[in-house]
């Protein structure tokens, strides 16, 4: 059953229940399942009217919004392939992705995205239509025969639907299990992005395992569950939690206004299942700590008391795998009245019954904080190439520092020679689009997917990931060091946003550190340290001393060879546009090493 068929069935079974909400002019506008399916059908008909054939690619570059889902489901209904582009992709990457995928239609959110596409139009001969959703600044102003307004396109679709009412239904009936449903371009920390092809059966397997099977939220999600959709939908994780959860289990999707308003939207929506990448959890934690620090006297005393209790509760939960004991339950119940209830309400997690972190490694301290204040936190692991089906922590069997147990019904092994984690199941991707050599390199001859992550078994049941294979540092002394663990320990501090550990073929380990402007700025203000820019603040001796103290604290827990002997401050905030981060905000090590070579050489000079 395709995603489109699932949405159709839901529209028939529960037409008037809310499928999604989006905030428009201060009001959360609701879309029912019946309306959802209407829109998706209109879009599918519009695609047919444009002459889209099975297997053609339809690209979308937009923030999360209703039209994203209409496009996705409509495209699947027309048996075409959805290609998601990050809204932050700069024009050069847009050009690469559009030309590489050979998309015939691009749905661009607004003028910003249309401009990017128009700038690289000559590199994308296959691109026939650019559909813009927000007409502001484009309509009646831009003169390009490939441009078409979303509403006009939908109108075309309705007309087509009037003429051939069964056309989409016929397409859907002809759908095959090996139709390529979506191309997900992996962010590519090393080379250009690669387009992983996921077929209808891949997605079906993923929905069966991580949605129905409770792999990503246990007990399994249901139509009463409320989600907040705020991470880029072109990433496999958000696609699962938004589109697949929604179509597969009927959860209610709420689109955040933007990444900047996530905290506010969380408070309004109070989701029941919440997925976040480490950066989000770190940022929420930093925000909480800084706000608590600047609270009035009585509130600070209260906070210190209950955070202390939370730490003990969290530590106890870590020991028991997430199961409450009588003592922790009692302590938590009293704390609920004085602190935890209000705190969770404020950060929008009052009703969270399953919180998950994934897509990158996270420091255990961060997870422990959330477990302590009563947010049931679970670390998950998966990657685009295996439809994100690999491992996950289960409620009551949480092991902090691990990514959990293999999902039910899959095969997972750790290669005894290299320590690499490998998976084999029906969710394993079809291959990289137009890149057979890379596909061959990612698979073993007997059908195991090579994840590229180095891991080990913990107690024989849980998997612990050491690092990405290609990130492992071998110092001049020949010691293997996993940088992400050190980096995450640093990033667990509210003051540190970025940390890049360096030491490959070097005599000692060093680091480049980027401060969190909000929290350090607030910290500086309280100390009456005047500053102008990010760079100015970074270079203040007091700030360096602050970072030094954090580094020292982290060093205490590290083996001597792993300790950070020197560090330098990053002179700017890392940015996707400048090529320092990937679209998913992961650091591109090679680019950093080149861009900040001066600082690095200074340390070893």
């Amino acid at each position: 059953m395709t995603l489109a068929a699932r949405v159709r069935d839901r529209a028939e079974r529960m037409p008037d229940r809310v499928a999604m909400r989006e905030k428009d002019f201060g009001i959360w506008q609701e879309v029912t399942w019946a309306q959802y399916w209407e829109h998706a059908q209109d879009f599918a008909h519009a695609l047919l009217a444009l002459g889209i054939q099975p297997g053609d690619r339809v690209a979308i570059q937009s923030e999360n919004r209703r039209e994203w889902l209409y496009t996705d489901v409509g495209t699947v209904a027309a048996r075409a392939t959805t290609v998601g582009l990050y809204p932050t992709n700069p024009p050069s990457e847009v050009g690469y992705l559009l030309s590489h995928s050979g998309a015939r239609v691009l749905v661009a959110e607004d003028q910003e995205q249309v401009d990017k596409a128009l700038a690289v139009l000559d590199r994308c001969p296959g691109l026939e239509w650019i559909v813009y959703i927000e007409p502001r600044g484009i309509r009646y102003r831009y003169d390009n025969e490939r441009l078409i307004w979303w509403d006009d396109l939908i109108e075309q679709g309705r007309k087509h639907r009037g003429d051939y009412p069964e056309a989409v239904a016929e397409r859907m009936a002809a759908a095959q299990a090996d139709d390529i449903m979506t191309l997900i371009y992996t962010s590519g920390t090393t080379g250009p992005p690669k387009g992983a092809m996921l077929s209808v059966s891949n997605v079906e397997f993923a929905i069966r395992t991580v949605v129905d099977g409770g792999g990503f939220a246990s007990p399994a999600p249901n139509p009463d569950d409320v989600m907040l959709s705020y991470l880029p939908l072109c990433h496999v994780a958000e696609r699962i939690f938004t589109t697949w959860f929604n179509a597969g289990a009927g959860t209610q999707v709420n689109f955040a206004e933007s990444i900047a308003t996530v905290q506010e939207n969380l408070r309004e929506i109070q989701p029941t299942i919440l997925f976040g990448v480490p950066r989000i959890w770190e940022k929420i934690l930093a925000g909480v700590q800084i706000k608590l620090a600047s609270a009035s006297w009585l509130k600070r005393v209260n906070t210190r008391l209950w955070l202390g209790v939370a730490e003990r509760v969290g530590a106890a939960l870590v020991r028991t795998g997430g199961n409450h004991t009588l003592g922790t339950r009692l302590a938590y119940a009293i704390g609920w009245v004085f602190f935890y209830r209000a705190l969770r309400e404020r950060i929008g997690m009052r009703r969270v019954r399953f919180a998950a972190s994934g897509a990158a490694p996270i420091a255990p301290e961060v997870l422990r904080f959330f477990m302590g204040i009563g947010v049931p936190m679970h670390e998950l692991y998966g990657m685009t190439e295996n439809s994100a089906v690999a491992t996950g922590n289960r409620p009551g069997r949480v092991k902090l520092g691990t990514v959990g147990e293999p999902q039910v019904g899959i095969e997972l092994r750790i290669d005894p020679d290299t320590g690499e984690i490998q998976t084999r199941h029906d969710g394993t991707f079809v291959g990289y689009f137009r890149d057979p050599p890379a596909t061959a390199a990612a698979m073993t001859s007997d059908g195991w997917l090579k994840t590229g992550d180095i891991g080990e078994w913990v107690d024989g049941t849980h998997v612990k990931i050491t690092d990405r294979a290609k990130d492992i540092i071998i110092t001049a002394g020949g010691k293997n060091i996993a940088p992400s663990e050190i980096e995450n320990a640093l990033k667990a501090s509210p003051f540190i946003k970025e940390a890049i550990v360096i030491g490959d073929r070097r005599p000692f380990v060093s680091a480049l550190v980027g401060i969190e402007l909000d929290t350090v700025g607030e910290w500086a203000q309280r100390r009456r340290i005047a500053y102008t820019t990010y760079r100015d603040l970074s270079e203040k001796p007091d700030v360096k001393a602050l970072v030094q103290s954090i580094v020292d604290k982290v060093n205490e827990r590290l083996a001597p060879v792993e300790q950070i002997k020197k560090f330098r401050m990053l002179p700017k905030e890392l940015d996707h546009e400048d090529g320092e981060l990937t679209a998913t905000q992961k650091v591109k090590r090679s680019a950093i090493a080149k861009l900040f070579a001066d600082q690095v050489e200074e340390m070893y000079g």
Binding site: R21, G26, I27, W28, Q29, E30, V226, R267, E268, I269, Q270, K291, L292, S294, A295, S296, K299, N302, T303, W306, F339, A342, L343, R346, R351
Partner: protein
């Protein structure tokens, strides 16, 4: 969705009169407490509280024009007087000295008093739409003097200075509220009446404040030029503000004197206007609850100072000696207004807001 107070899926819910469960519950409890008060308090206290209710209606009216729409009006006493005399005229019988129409039903004379005052408000409004700030204050001040002169001279209506006339009678379809019977004493029944009327007037004002009209008022208050630019019809909304405010003042004027028992033309002086300004400022400009709080505060202040008088025996209770308690009261008004404007510009309501914010932001401070 249940249990998510910040999630609004319609503007109707967003703008609801009582948009949170806490407000609904606390209003319900307040109303219950109010209805129970006559069984708990002395009749003299009840009379004072009934006056507080009426003063609150007047203060809400001034709050609408001054607090919400930002038009300083010192002419409240004038509209007050118009309401008082209209009601007396409609309700009273033609006697030896004064005339009357002989319709004692409250449901007739109360709206009549409000509407006549409203009419005068509309007449004054064209001035207000052309003037701002101090100039408007002076013009409305002029109204008070015109009013005092007319009330003083028009003997057949007001009885004349120093003589006065009987106020309207609290009568509902022939049932005399102001007479002790099996239902309760005169004070108990008039408190219930005034309290119910206060609820009606307060809810109506709050409803107005949350509507398009109310938003236009605040826009004009914050910056009239900007309000005009965004499409608020200034003369129209200033007129509405004065009209509604005068209506409230008229009703309050009509209701207050049956409790006092007597209308003396000299009472509608600048002092009365200033008293109402004090209620609005001390309570908190720009809020309905603030106006109510301020009205009760100012109404209860004299009995409070009199209760504290034994503690400072050198202050006399006799108006002929110096220093006396009445002077202290007047000084206290001034001190309170100055104090509030300097230290708590948002009034009593501001204090409440601060307390509420403290708990609302728990465990943070912002």
């Amino acid at each position: 969705m249940r249990g998510r107070p910040l999630l609004y899926t319609s503007y109707r819910a967003d703008m609801a009169l009582l948009n949170t469960p806490a407000k609904r519950v606390s209003l319900g409890l307040l109303v219950l407490l109010g209805l129970a008060l006559p069984f708990l308090l002395q009749d003299s206290t009840l009379n004072l509280l009934a006056m507080g209710c009426v003063a609150a209606i007047g203060a809400i009216g001034l709050g609408l024009v001054t607090g919400y729409a930002g038009q300083v009006s010192l002419g409240h006493a004038f509209f007050f007087g118009i309401g008082a005399y209209t009601s007396a005229l409609v309700s009273g019988e033609t006697g030896v000295r004064t005339m009357g129409l002989g319709v004692p039903n409250l449901l007739v004379w109360l709206p009549a008093a409000g509407l006549v005052a409203l009419l005068f408000g509309v007449l004054v409004a064209p001035l207000a739409t052309r003037l701002r700030g101090l100039y408007l204050a002076i013009v409305t001040l002029g109204l008070v003097f015109i009013g005092q002169h007319v009330f003083g001279e028009w003997g057949s209506l007001t009885g004349g200075t120093g003589v006065g006339r009987a106020p309207a009678r609290l009568e509902l379809f022939g049932y005399d509220v102001a007479a002790t019977d099996s239902m309760g004493t005169r004070e108990q029944k008039s408190f219930w009446l005034m309290f119910s009327l206060l609820i009606v007037f307060a809810l109506a004002a709050r409803n107005l404040a949350r509507s398009k009209v109310g938003r236009a008022f605040t826009a004009i208050r914050d910056r009239d030029i900007a309000a005009g630019v965004i499409g608020v019809n200034l003369s129209r909304y200033k007129t509405i503000a004065f009209a509604v405010s005068s209506f409230y003042a008229g009703c309050a004027g009509a209701l207050l004197y049956p409790l006092v028992g007597f209308i003396e033309p000299g009472t509608f002086s600048l002092l009365l206007s200033v008293q109402y300004i004090a209620m609005v400022l001390i309570g908190g400009a720009g809020t309905i609850s603030g106006a109510i709080a301020g009205a009760f505060f100012i109404t209860l202040l004299p009995s409070l100072t009199r209760g504290l008088q034994p503690l400072v025996p050198f202050i006399s209770t006799s108006p002929t000696e110096l220093p006396n308690i009445f002077q202290v009261e007047t000084i206290l008004y001034g001190v309170l207004v100055i104090g509030f404007l300097i230290f708590e510009p948002r009034g009593l309501f501001g204090i409440w807001i601060r307390v509420r914010t403290y708990w609302k932001t728990w465990p943070f401070s912002y």
